[in-house]
């Protein structure tokens, strides 16, 4: 029920922002269409914690800036490699197991890996990842497991060591 209400609210806000209209009739029609979509989604049985993970919302928003930074950094690295006349690449497929507790966590981790250039998740089966990495540096970045840790701590809600740093200092 909470998921349905949240999905409806999300859809209506999306509709408002995309349409930018304010006439009462149109607002009503927008609300009606948001309700219709929620009804259809309910009939399809896709309103659940996976399709609409509201339990992660704040921690997810805290995770995004870190992910964006990683994306920019690895973009610069891969761009430099591509422009290097020697093309210093060392393609490799790395296999490892993710520490996430749920499939949703695994998927978030796999998508984060794919979003950072230099690493692409090519297989994911029961938490076993197969990742194609372009250079030795991207293999190293994977093996530090920093992203794995952050996704897991976001998923289960444990305070991340780095994020909790101010408390440690006192």
């Amino acid at each position: 029920m909470l998921h349905a209400v949240s999905l409806g609210a999300f859809l209506y806000v999306l509709w408002l922002l995309l349409s930018g209209l304010g006439a009462p009739l149109l607002l009503g029609l927008g609300a009606a269409s948001a309700c219709l979509v929620v009804f259809i989604a309910h009939r399809m049985d896709v309103i659940d914690h996976e399709g609409h993970p509201i339990h992660l919302r704040w921690r997810m928003i805290a995770y995004w800036p870190w992910l964006l930074r990683q994306i920019v950094m690895s973009n610069l690295h891969v761009a430099r490699v591509i422009l290097d006349p020697r093309l210093p690449i060392k393609p490799k497929v790395v296999h490892f197991k993710g520490t996430q507790k749920s499939e949703l966590g695994n998927v978030i981790y796999a998508n984060s890996i794919t979003l950072t250039p230099g690493t692409v998740t090519i297989s994911l089966e029961d938490g076993n990842f197969g990742v194609h990495a372009l250079t030795a540096k991207t293999v190293g970045d994977l093996q530090t497991g920093e992203m794995d840790r952050r996704v897991t701590s976001m998923e289960i809600g444990a305070p991340n060591e780095r994020n909790a740093a101010p408390r440690d200092k006192t």
């Binding site: 999306l14 922002l17 995309l18 930018g20 994306i71 920019v72 973009n75 891969v78 761009a79 591509i82 422009l83 020697r86 093309l87 210093p88 690449i89 060392k90 393609p91 490799k92 497929v93 796999a110 998508n111 984060s112 794919t114 979003l115 950072t116 250039p117 230099g118 690493t119 692409v120 998740t121 090519i122 297989s123 994911l124 194609h132 372009l134």
Partner: protein, 112 residues
């Protein structure tokens, strides 16, 4: 103020274009289909991201900016899925990732 946001927008647009160009060069230079996905990855993260950021800067605080932000968010959510589907399709078709790559003296078109 208008001037500054216009210039900043253009700088971001040009930077984004540069990254798209680099990504395209990567798609051509890198040896096999899996390595080429990394080149394509540059295009659809930093390339598209910087161009959208440039357009947002030029649009200013309007609904257009919000819509551009939505485009970026949808791109970030859908891209890994598409890339993963592509990689899976290549694996299922029997393409083996190249692992012992040695750069030859000149760029020769690969036989595959």
């Amino acid at each position: 103020m208008e001037m500054i946001s216009q210039i900043a927008g253009w700088v971001l647009l040009l930077l984004g274009s540069a990254f798209i160009l680099i990504g395209a060069v990567g798609v051509i230079r890198l040896p096999d289909v899996f390595a080429r996905m990394h080149g394509a990855g540059i295009i659809d993260t930093l390339g598209a991201g910087l161009i959208l950021a440039g357009l947002m800067t030029q649009a200013g605080f309007t609904l257009i900016m919000v819509k551009l932000a939505f485009i970026f968010i949808f791109l970030i959510f859908t891209n890994p899925t598409a890339t993963h589907a592509l990689a899976r399709a290549a694996l299922n078709a029997g393409v083996k990732p190249l692992t012992n790559f040695k750069k030859t003296g000149e760029d020769k078109p690969s036989k595959s």
